[in-house]
Amino acid sequence: MKKILSLALFLVLLSFQNFAQTVWTAKASGSWSSAATWTRSGSGGGTANTPPNNLGNNQRVVIGGGFTVTQSSNDIEINGTARLTIENGGKLNMGNGRGLTQKNISSFFTINNGTYENNSVGSGGNLKIEAGTFEWTNASIFASGNLEFKNFAVGNMTNVCLQVKQNTLLEGLGNTSSYSNISNVFLLTGTSGSGNLSIKDNSFIKSNNWKIRVGSNSGNAEILNSTINGNIYSIDANDELKVTSLAGNPSLSIYCADKITPNLNAFTGTKTNNCATASAQTCNGIPSIDADLDGINDNLDDYPSDQYRAFKSNFPNSGYATLMFEDLWPNKGDYDFNDLVIDYKYETVTNASNQVVEVNYTFVLKAIGAGLHNGFGFQLDNVAPDKITSISSITKTNNAAWLSKNTNGTEAGQTFANVILYDDVYKSLPWPGVGNMVNVYLDGPGANPYVTPDTLRFTITFLNNGTAPSGGTLSISQFPSSAFNPYLICGEEGTWNQLRNKEIHLPNRIPTSKASLAFFGTASDDSNPTSGKYYKTKENLPWALEIFESIPYMKEKVDISEGYSNFLNWAESNGASFTSWYQNLTGNRVNTNFYIR
């Protein structure tokens, strides 16, 4: 009882928290002050359609999705418990002379794969972290005025390019209990030609691979009364580098300074007068760091520490897709499309040469509205089995006599790569002992307890640490999503076995080498391999559907059109209208006809 009360309290608090905050999320590139730029959720921080310039308590702004938001007429302040987040390719572009200041100890400024930019021609446009917390990762920052950290603001910078037109002042960055971390950071201060760097007033910094250039023509650097643990490379102070009361014994690699005060022999590191090396350091508006040297800068590299991987892309773009089968093929079914319901998604990992490195699959077996003990697998059309190095262990097969595999885990005897996930879906989503089938009856004589969906994750490896299998590499252009060709392997009537030669695919998808063509054109099937028509009736109806998002499925024996009100309208319009028939929009769904727990 106590646990239930705690859970209820937690949920109430959670919902209150969501309600208590207002989040403005960029939905398009545009002006900060334009309602067309934002979508708002929550109301605890106000109900305006655009965020204020002075962000306060319970207010959050998120700029992502590759959108650029421009604030050209006002400065921005982050106050109270406000949060500003720039992520996922987003950019905050400040107008001429406009700046941003974070002012409160509870405020938060996050950049993760994003850009803060002020390219003002004139002066002004300071970026000030006067208090609070910052987390900047894979970020590009350009301030047309000064960059300032004060009052023991605490945060982390990793893989950050900082370009500051004027001065950089670290006057109290970090504190004794919370050092600020600076790792893989290039700081160029004084892009206007001259500019100074000042690290002082009890700053506490842990650094690693921190490169600093001060002034492209002239500039002084001073490090006073501060503690720096770690190293600083390439300090290029065009004029004087002054260091006093520097604790932490950092390793300084000083390449260029006209004068160093005092003598730095007490510190470890190198002191050379190599201004050419120092001035060669640039960041060209983006983090120029490519830690794994694969040719993709870290801010764009999904795997910045892995030279064999660069990017990942997801199918579908977010969440899961749904596969729904009728299993009486070649006879017509009842069109409840719940004989087998599986959600799936996959993440394709490619390298800097657009070759497929690996694909990470997730399948969620949700319902069996069938008496037959069907199996399930997929083919990768036009991908030869020897293009695959290995498949990580799939634990959902149970040594069915009909299943034999190649050493790389693909099914033996196939022209294209085939992966068998379930040789009997009932063994992974078991009948609960009462009622009929699994997760398709909510009430009536067939009703039975809910069985938790079975989740299966595995990886198909194409390139192993850059090494291709005997079949060679696979370019992403040879691996469209249409290569994914899922199918149901029909169970045998009267037994718990499967008929490996009887497959049901999505409409117009080709069968595998194991499928018997003898079923085509029998009963209700009107497949014609010569014309490329597969797994459709004379009326061109399918036995399987694939939906681009995860959708609820039908109760047993309820026609799909009784749950999806515009399904028939969509089909009868030949796909011209009601293209969102499956989405949760007004008028599309009759929820009482779905199996929803």
């Binding site: 999705g65 390719g89 040719g295 017509k332 249409s482 009326e539 009868e572 293209t579």
Partner: protein, 126 residues
């Protein structure tokens, strides 16, 4: 016969003739129409009907610079990142929901809005 009766008879004849003509027209229009299905069992669709709810497109990306292209839906969902190689056609297969009409490509700080109403679309970047 009084003129009123003659007028009535003529009106009835004209009405009957007009009704017949409208019926013929109606039958002509509907003779090939399949009645709206009340269930999926009654549904009939054309052979070229696309049951897909996803759209798969090949983007042919061309540029004089080698740099990653980031592809988003108009709503800002990330579709994927891919390398564009200078001087070469980079063919990138992408997917969106079938009711999407454009994608947005970020390349070297510029954004490109690309119509995706064909199976293959060529995009010149910079």
């Amino acid at each position: 016969m009084k003129p009123t009766y003659i007028l009535m008879v003529l009106t009835l004849i004209a009405f009957s003739s007009c009704k017949k003509s409208l019926e013929n027209k109606y039958n002509e229009i509907n003779k090939n129409r399949v009645p709206a299905a009340k269930s999926t069992t009654e549904l009939v669709v054309s052979e070229n009907f696309n049951w897909q709810t996803k759209k798969s497109i090949n983007l042919k990306l061309e540029s004089t610079e080698t740099y990653p292209a980031i592809i988003y839906t108009l709503e800002g969902e990330l579709i994927g990142k891919f390398m564009v190689i200078a001087g070469k056609e980079s063919i990138i297969p992408i997917n969106t929901a079938s009711n999407q009409t454009q994608v947005r490509i970020l390349f070297l700080e510029k954004e490109y809005f690309v119509d995706i109403n064909q199976d293959q679309v060529t995009v010149k970047l910079n």
